[in-house]
């Protein structure tokens, strides 16, 4: 498994940092996320995912400024979650955050592609905030969307 401490893991992080995926062209509802301790920022927009039966897929885009961990983690996130349904995106995000927090075995990230490069982040507690910034923001937005749609259905 690639990990942040390995050369391969660093290459993956470097690649996303220097060539961020789904970058720019944000939707009108883009939300600003900020890590107050270092000033890193991510602007995140999520479109799609509005059908009540959750069959429609989501599209993520972002812009940001910050360290390699916060920006590559966001790039990996938008790549991974784009094309997923809302329910699936929430489930994956919860998984990833639990690994970042060190609550679950990092091996569960192995099937999720590049994000496994950040599997070892729990061992670097001061960088967890950087890695989790976009994921926490996305989770909040997706749950809010979920609530709004379930209210519409009722």
């Amino acid at each position: 498994m690639s990990s942040i401490e390995s050369e391969v893991g660093r290459e993956i992080i470097y690649d996303h940092y220097t060539r961020p995926r789904h970058f720019g062209a944000l939707g009108p509802d883009a939300v600003m996320l900020e890590n107050p301790s270092c000033g890193d920022t991510v602007r995140l927009s999520i479109s799609g995912g509005i059908s009540p039966d959750d069959s429609e897929t989501l599209e993520f885009r972002f812009e940001g400024k910050g360290c390699s961990i916060s920006q590559s983690s966001t790039s990996m996130m938008v790549e991974l979650l784009s094309g997923k349904s809302r329910g699936e995106a929430i489930r994956i995000t919860e998984h990833v955050l639990s690994v970042f927090r060190g609550e679950r075995d990092p091996h569960i990230l192995e099937d999720l592609g590049d994000i496994s490069a950040l599997a070892g982040i729990a061992r670097l507690p001061v960088r967890v905030k950087c890695a989790a910034l976009a994921w926490q923001g996305a989770l909040k937005l997706l749950r809010q969307q979920e609530r709004e749609h379930s209210e519409v259905e009722r």
Binding site: S37, C38, K65, C67, I69
Partner: protein
């Protein structure tokens, strides 16, 4: 514009004097167990350049704490037995030591707190109750959060108005700005002695008479200065002074608020309970006298014991020497770092303590700090609990190197060497 000039600007060590001080610092390292242990994978010694965040602890302080727990530990004042008396004596001995160290008139002027932040919270909560809505407090743009946020809270609770002294481009305050901001509504000026980000040393001794001449009080944030230079509250003209022990070789969780006795006597108590009470009834209580009036709950006796040992150790090293050495080492490092393409050392204050912020073009400070850490070099990265200053300097985030008495030329050279490598590599992960 009139500049606030520093009197008695100290000279920096060069040549043989620098070498001699470096040799002394290498000897001092031996007093610190953590600096002699091999912490890195390669077995290299720790290059600790984060002393402004917290200093390492000498064996003398660690031993004093162990001795306290092995031979003294008891609750203070209320335990009527020999250990209780010993613990109480240890607490009051520490208070007298602090009073003596900072030149206070009496140990009644020394209030133990958890640190600088708690000292300012105490002061803001208690002092501002005496102020009226519209009264003004002057701070500066270089304050760290401990000397901003408690005043923001007081502004909200009591309607006092905060005004901020600006910095010039070099990172110094201007006397004319202070003159412009001071007015009959100014009740307090609260300034840092040393900026925790730029290392600027503010000439508090010259500012005090200006403040007092306008009928205001002066509070000094000595979080960064007490650990590095002699502090005399009378020479500074400070009505209040706050510091933390942990940056000055003492344990975490112990600090002080100094206040002139007549001022402290006039202030209402802050927290309730414990030794701050003289009598309690079902319908009220009466407040104890100074200094216990401001010390609710069981105090951090271990911390006080460690603080006394730390001040004793610092006095033996000579705080004037610590100031000169750390500033000389910073100047040595800055000169070489500025020669590395892409490296910027920010600010150029007239008088700089042994700390400075730097950035490497194209590399985020967190990434740079992580890169340095891989070679066992510890620096701080981020906004340094000084968001307004960081924003003013347009630093999304920066690294900070800070020295103490145990820092050596080898530490500075390690930083220079790794930054040279970092600059060659370009973007770093």
């Amino acid at each position: 514009m009139t500049n606030i000039m520093q009197t008695g600007a100290r000279g920096l060590l060069k040549g043989a004097a620098f070498d001699a001080a470096d040799a002394k610092a290498q000897g001092i390292r031996e007093d610190f167990p953590i600096l002699t242990a091999s912490l890195t994978k390669q077995g290299a010694p720790l290059v600790y350049l984060d002393s402004a965040a917290t200093s390492q602890k000498p064996g003398a302080v660690i031993d004093a704490i162990v001795d306290y727990y092995e031979n003294t530990n008891a609750n203070v004042y209320r335990s009527i037995h020999r250990l209780g008396e010993k613990a109480t004596a240890a607490l009051e001995s520490g208070r007298a030591a602090v009073a003596d160290y900072i030149g206070a008139a009496s140990s009644r002027e020394i209030i133990f707190t958890r640190g600088t932040t708690e000292s300012f919270n105490l002061l803001a909560s208690s002092l501002c109750r005496r102020f009226e809505a519209g009264d003004e407090i002057i701070l500066s743009e270089m304050e760290h959060h401990a000397n901003i946020v408690p005043w923001h809270m007081a502004a909200k609770n009591y309607g006092v108005v905060l005004k901020f002294l600006p910095l010039n481009e070099a990172g110094d305050l201007e006397l004319s700005d202070l003159d412009r901001l001071l007015n009959p509504r100014t009740k307090l000026v609260s300034l840092t002695h040393i900026s925790n980000l730029l290392g600027t040393i503010n000439p508090i001794g010259q500012i005090a008479p200006l403040v007092h001449a306008r009928g205001a009080l002066l509070a000094v944030d000595a979080a960064q200065s007490l650990p590095h230079m002699p502090i005399d509250v009378k020479a500074l003209g400070a009505d209040f002074l706050a510091f933390s022990g942990h940056k000055a070789f003492a344990p975490m969780g112990i600090g002080c608020l100094y206040g002139r006795q007549e001022l402290l006597e006039s202030l209402p108590p802050w927290q309730g309970g414990g030794e701050m009470i003289s009598a309690v009834g079902l319908h009220g209580f009466s407040v104890n006298e100074l200094p216990w009036k401001f010390e609710a709950g069981t105090p951090n006796v271990e911390g006080v014991v460690g603080l006394e040992a730390a001040l004793d150790y610092m006095r033996r090293l000579d705080p004037t020497w610590i100031d000169t050495w750390t500033a000389s080492l910073a100047a040595y490092a800055i000169e070489r770092l500025e020669a590395i393409p892409g490296v910027t050392v920010h600010g150029a204050p007239r008088l700089r303590a042994g700390l400075f912020p730097f950035t490497l073009a194209g590399v985020h400070a967190h990434d740079l700090a992580a890169f340095l850490d891989r070679s066992g070099i510890a620096v701080r990265a981020g906004k340094h609990c000084a968001h307004p200053l960081s924003d003013k300097l347009e630093l999304l985030s920066s690294c900070r190197a800070s020295f103490h008495a145990y820092s050596t030329r080898a530490d500075a050279d390690a930083l220079i060497k790794r930054l040279t490598a970092a600059a060659r590599r370009g973007v770093i992960v």
